[in-house]
Symmetry: C2
Subunit: 322 residues, 2 copies
DNA sequence: TCAAAAGTGTTATCCTTACACCCATGT
DNA sequence: ACATGGGTGTAAGGATAACACTTTTGA
C-alpha cells in the first residue's frame, strides 16, 4: 500500500560520484563551542552557574570523546567538581560575527541538572529570576502593569492595522493578558517579544535604555530563556526534578522545587495526590520536623520506575488565585 | 526573597583574563554539515527526500547567511526548487570517525516540511515506512508478532535478572505489549531498542543478518527516526500539517494526512469536531465530489489564527479498535 | 491555645471517548 | 437500493480543579 510502484534501490555504490544534494562538508572549517546552562535549586530559588554573573560557562569541543554530550559532561565535571545528572541538548546556532567574517563559531548549548556546590574559580551561582524578573509568578505577577502598558504601547506603534492586531494578540497570548492566562512555558517567546519591543537588551556591551532584568554576554540570556522553557516543559512529563533534590526529601520540598522552576504556586493537596498516586516516590520511614509544624514524612525517588510518563499526565495542579 | 545575600556583579570588564570556565573555542577547527529530513505527504504516504534511497540530503554550512536555518533553507530551495514551509532543528552530533581522527564533522540535522515536487538530479522521494515498517499501525500492527518474539528473546538473554526485567519493561512500554498500548511518539526509542537488540542495522556498509526495514547510510536512519518522532509530537500542538496540504482540502484529506504521519487511524467524527471547534479552518464555499460519496466541503487553513496551541489540546482522537 | 504545616475526603466541572444515527451523492 | 463518504447529537467515563475539614507538632 505504501509505495508499490517504486523500485527498491540498494545503497549507493561506494566510490560513486556524489550527487549535488550531498556536498562535501569539509570545505568550511569552523570553530565549535559548547555552552552549558547548569541548573540547581537551593532555598526555593532556581540558580544557574555563571562566570561573573553575566556569562554562561563555555568550552571547546574536545575531539576524542565518544559524543558531544560526553565531552560536555566531562569538561564541566572536571572544571567544577559538580556531578551532572540529567543532560539535554538545547539548540545549535552560528554565532554572528564573533570570530572573523569568514570563520564563524558554531555554538551548541546544553541544559544540565545538578545540586549546588562550591562554584570554584571565577564562577558563581545566580538566581535565574534576576535575568527574568517577570517570569516569577509565585507571589503575584511582579511587573504585570509595567509590562502591559509598555507592550500595549509597542503594539499600537506597529506600522499597519494588521500588524497592530497581531502584536496585540501575541502580547496577550504570551503574557496572559485579556483572560488568556499565564503559561509558564512561554519563557522564550516572551523574551523574544520583549527583545523586539526593545524592552530588553541582548548584550551589555550595547547599553543605553533602562533594562528589564540583568543582561548577559552575547546571546546568553536567550540561551538561558531556552533552557528555562525546556525545563518547565520537561518537568511535566519526565521526573527530572529529583536530580535537583537530596536523596531524601519531604513532599513540600518537592513541591517547592517544582514551584521554583515553574515560577508558580501549586495546589498542595492535589500535588501530593499526583505524586503519590503515580508511585514516583516511596517513604523512607523517617520524618523531619523543622519548620514549626507537624513533622513531614521523608520520601525517596523510586529509581526503578519507568523513565517516561511522570509528574502527572500533562499538567501541574496549579493553585487557583494567588 | 530570591537571593538577597548575593552582590550584584556587573558584566565582566572587557579585556579581563578569561576564567577557566570559558575556554577559547577557536582552537579546534571542525567541519560542519547540515542534514535535512524533508517531508511531504502524497497519497496517504509520508515521504522523504533521499539520495539514491539511502542517504539524506546534506550540505556544508555556508558562512555569510544570517543563521544556520537560513543557510539550510536557501541551499535546499536552490538545489531542489521545493519551497520549504516549517523548518525546525532536530539534533546536533559529532560524527564518529568519518573524517580523520583529529578532525571530526559536526552534523546539524533539520526537519523541513513541503509538498512533493520533482526531486531532481540523483534525488528521489521514498515512503518513510520503508525504513520503519513497524511504525505504520494504520492497518493493524504489521510485525507485532515477529517483533514481540524477537524482543522477548532479547530480554531473556540479558546477563542479570535485573537487566532482564528492565529489558522486558522497556520493550513492553516502547512497543505497547502487555496492555501498555501503542504510543506513536516513541519512534526513536523503538529504533534504538531494535538497534541494541541487533534487529536493525545502522549502515548498509556493514551487512550480514537479515534486516527489519531498509537501512540507510551512516546514521541517517536514526536521524530520520528523530524527525518522525518530533513531527508526530508536533502535530498535536501546532498546526504544521497544513504545510503539507494544498491550499484547499477536505476534512478527510486533512485527517488522512495526520493519520499518515501518526501511523494510526483516527476517529472521524471526533477529529472533525476537534478541527472545526478550534476554528483552525474556514470553508472556501466550494466542494469536491470525487470518491463516490457525498461531496465534501472544501476548507482552507486560517492563517490569522494564533500559531501556538492547535490540533487539539494534547491528544488526537484515536480510533478505538483497528 | 494558636500558628503552621501535614494530610484526607468529597464534589463539581470539563474534556475525551464512544456510540448511534441521519444526509447526500454516484452507480 | 446500496455503497461510500459527509456530517450531527449526545451520553459515559475519567481526569483535573476546587472546597472543606481533620491531624500533629512547636512556641
Amino acid at each position: 500500500m505504501d509505495e508499490p510502484s517504486l523500485a527498491r534501490p540498494g545503497p549507493a555504490a561506494p566510490g560513486l560520484k556524489a550527487p549535488t544534494l550531498v556536498e562535501s562538508a569539509v570545505t568550511q572549517p569552523t570553530a565549535t563551542e559548547l555552552i552549558a546552562v547548569i541548573v540547581a535549586v537551593t532555598d526555593r530559588t532556581p540558580r544557574i552557574l555563571t562566570v561573573d554573573g553575566a556569562t554562561l560557562p563555555a568550552g571547546a569541543f574536545q575531539p576524542g570523546y565518544r559524543s558531544l554530550q560526553a565531552s560536555l559532561r566531562s569538561w564541566v565535571e572536571k572544571q567544577t567538581r559538580l556531578r551532572l545528572g540529567y543532560v539535554e541538548q538545547l539548540y545549535t546556532f552560528a554565532d554572528h560575527g564573533r570570530t572573523g567574517a569568514d570563520q564563524r563559531t558554531i555554538s551548541i548549548s546544553y541544559l544540565g541538572l545538578t545540586r549546588e556546590g562550591p562554584a570554584g574559580r571565577g564562577a558563581s551561582w545566580q538566581g535565574w529570576y534576576r535575568y527574568f524578573p517577570w517570569e516569577d509568578h509565585r507571589t503575584g505577577s511582579p511587573l504585570s502593569e509595567t509590562l502591559e502598558t509598555a507592550l500595549r504601547a509597542w503594539a499600537e506603534a506597529a506600522p499597519s492595522p494588521g500588524a497592530r492586531t497581531q502584536r496585540r494578540q501575541r502580547a496577550a497570548y504570551s503574557f496572559g493578558f485579556d483572560g488568556h492566562g499565564w503559561n509558564e512555558e512561554l519563557t522564550l517567546q516572551r523574551y523574544e517579544l520583549l527583545y523586539e519591543a526593545s524592552l530588553v537588551e541582548e548584550a551589555p556591551e550595547f547599553r543605553g535604555t533602562p533594562q528589564l532584568g540583568t543582561a548577559m554576554r552575547h546571546d546568553h540570556r536567550r540561551i538561558l530563556a531556552t533552557g528555562i522553557a525546556r525545563l518547565r516543559a520537561k518537568i511535566k512529563y519526565r521526573p527530572v526534578v529529583f536530580e535537583l533534590l537530596a536523596a531524601e526529601f519531604t513532599l513540600l520540598e518537592l513541591q517547592q522545587s517544582v514551584e521554583a522552576l515553574a515560577g508558580r504556586r501549586l495546589h498542595k493537596p492535589n500535588f501530593r495526590r499526583l505524586i503519590t498516586q503515580q508511585q514516583l516516590v516511596e517513604e523512607t520511614g523517617g520524618s523531619r520536623a523543622e519548620t514549626g509544624g507537624r513533622p513531614a514524612r521523608l520520601y525517596r525517588f523510586r529509581r526503578d520506575v519507568l523513565l517516561e510518563r511522570a509528574l502527572g499526565g500533562t499538567k501541574l495542579p496549579i493553585a487557583r488565585s494567588r
